[in-house]
Assembly symmetry: C2
Homo-oligomer: 320 residues x 2
């Protein structure tokens, strides 16, 4: 068990006289540990197979500035680890057929062990994103978003699929706390394809009793109050209030929301889906925003890519 | 809304002086309504396409007597509706490759709109049942057990997949009660591929707040006590006690357990996973065992087969 980041320091917005009791689980530190480990794994691969590098392709349609930022973070992390990451950009005039055709060529490219399609797609033409994510070969689908990988995860076949990066990162952070998941009551707020739904699956198949809440949940505060482990991916700034949180709970916040703040140079600051200054008074462990789940997502993408490369090497060796 | 089967009668084993308050939701009656509707749909298909019949293939490996019984029930239901059902039996010496080869030929057979593999496989040779269910073409997978269909269901793409028959039947029974699912707290006991896991998905995407309990749940009675809608698929006779049930809950019992009973001709009787004589004192609606969920499963298989045949006819027409 790796050590966590230590006791929380008082954060901005926290009442001056309140005692901060939650231990902060740092995604910056944990993701660094993961990336260091992956770098060593890549070196090991190269000892076995000189010149070999895990290959990742990031396919982008259009030119959204937020996507550009995320892609550059992925490329940077990949380069540091020794992953050969390529960025392929299609124009925002690309049709669905053109996108599917690109995916097909990358599926057939033996150098690409991982392929992700940066979402949302930014095309002026109608593209079915479900068809696009399902076109990625399941054994290269390192985002874990294809129906086949989702089906395996949801039915408990965790060793035989790719796990979506954000919930995978949350599990890594929970594991950092030393709190065991089995037999606990976990509550997930949100049911999106990339966060809430696969998070439910991971907690369930790690043997928690899991409740999923969402926009139509009628008694959210009450449900949240029962969670030994709370994971929030709702996309609503500071929606979960500290007073809802069970005393001693582990709180994992997947939210990244920009809210107006005139005191900041850019006029905004980033907050999570949990009201941190009050939640950290009740939780035993809590992830900060930023620096919590966010950095883990990129690290887990790298982990899936390295895992895919290992499988490729093993299949080559067993073929040989 | 169709009418339910009326107020519960006192059942064997129920305390003599207790008042039975739950309304019994009859799977026998509801499944008959479904099958009658499907029969009319098949007639309508034949008006559009003279001589057309929905086609279902049941592939069996080996000769288990329980499988033989279930298959005969499916073939009989199919015949009554006008579905052309064929039973293909491979010997219990069949290898995985032979099973996969059979599936491949049925996948390519245009007369088969549905293909199910009767589980468990009864072969003296090792066969990976996951590989077998994933070999069924997703558009013919009327049991809804392939990873692709499971993935779509678990991520909320309900209109674009086949839903496993038992949970689909449970939803039909819940709908019979007139109780709306959205915003309710549903609790599912069990997380199997054919009952609990897809049941969670169906309740979630019909907008309930859903808790899944299982063998490692530490406070089952407490979790069950919170359920407005309770679905039990645990495979343990009368495990859920009446006193656990929330007053006024809808209770759906997927269990089929044979327990010793010397007073019965065969020395056994069938009970569910819920202790019916006490649960029906607290529930508002309850399914009996037998005659509850059981008959719905076969009816939903027929529904999926007819749905697949409609899709086939529509694709033919749009091709023409």
């Amino acid at each position: 068990m790796l050590s966590v980041a230590g006791k929380a320091l008082r954060v901005s917005g926290c009442p001056r006289n309140a005692r901060s009791i939650a231990t902060v689980v740092s995604g910056n530190k944990t993701s660094k540990l993961v990336r260091d480990r992956l770098q060593k794994e890549v070196c090991k691969m190269q000892e076995l197979e000189p010149g070999f590098r895990p290959g990742l392709v990031v396919l982008q349609v259009g030119d959204r500035s937020d996507s550009n930022l995320y892609i550059s973070m992925k490329l940077k992390a990949a380069a540091e680890i020794g992953i050969d990451a390529r960025h392929i950009r299609l124009p925002n005039t690309a049709s669905e057929d053109e996108v599917l055709h690109s995916i097909q060529s990358i599926n057939e490219d033996a150098r690409a062990h991982g392929l992700i399609v940066q979402l949302p797609l930014d095309s002026i033409r109608p593209i079915d994103s479900g068809r696009v994510t399902d076109a990625v070969a399941p054994h290269k689908d390192v985002d874990g978003l294809s129906s086949i990988n989702a089906g395996k995860l949801s039915r408990g076949d965790l060793k035989n699929c790719f796990i979506p990066c954000t919930p995978n990162g949350c599990m890594e952070l929970i594991s950092q706390t030393g709190v065991s998941v089995a037999g606990k009551h976990a509550v997930v707020v949100g049911r999106s394809k990339i966060v809430g739904a696969p998070m439910h699956d991971l907690l369930l198949w790690n043997h928690a009793t899991v409740t999923t809440c969402h926009s139509q949940t009628s008694n959210l505060a009450e449900q949240v109050g029962r969670a030994d482990i709370l994971v929030v991916g709702a996309g609503k700034p500071e929606m979960v209030r500290g007073e809802w949180v069970k005393e001693g709970a582990v709180v994992i916040d997947c939210g990244i929301n920009y809210v107006a703040d005139e005191t900041k140079p850019g006029g905004t600051r980033v907050v999570g889906d949990v009201h941190y200054p009050t939640a950290n008074q009740r939780a035993s462990f809590i992830t900060p925003v930023p620096g919590g789940v966010g950095p883990m997502t990129v690290a887990m993408l790298m982990k899936n890519t390295v895992q895919s490369a290992w499988r490729f090497l093993q299949s080559q060796r067993s073929d040989g």
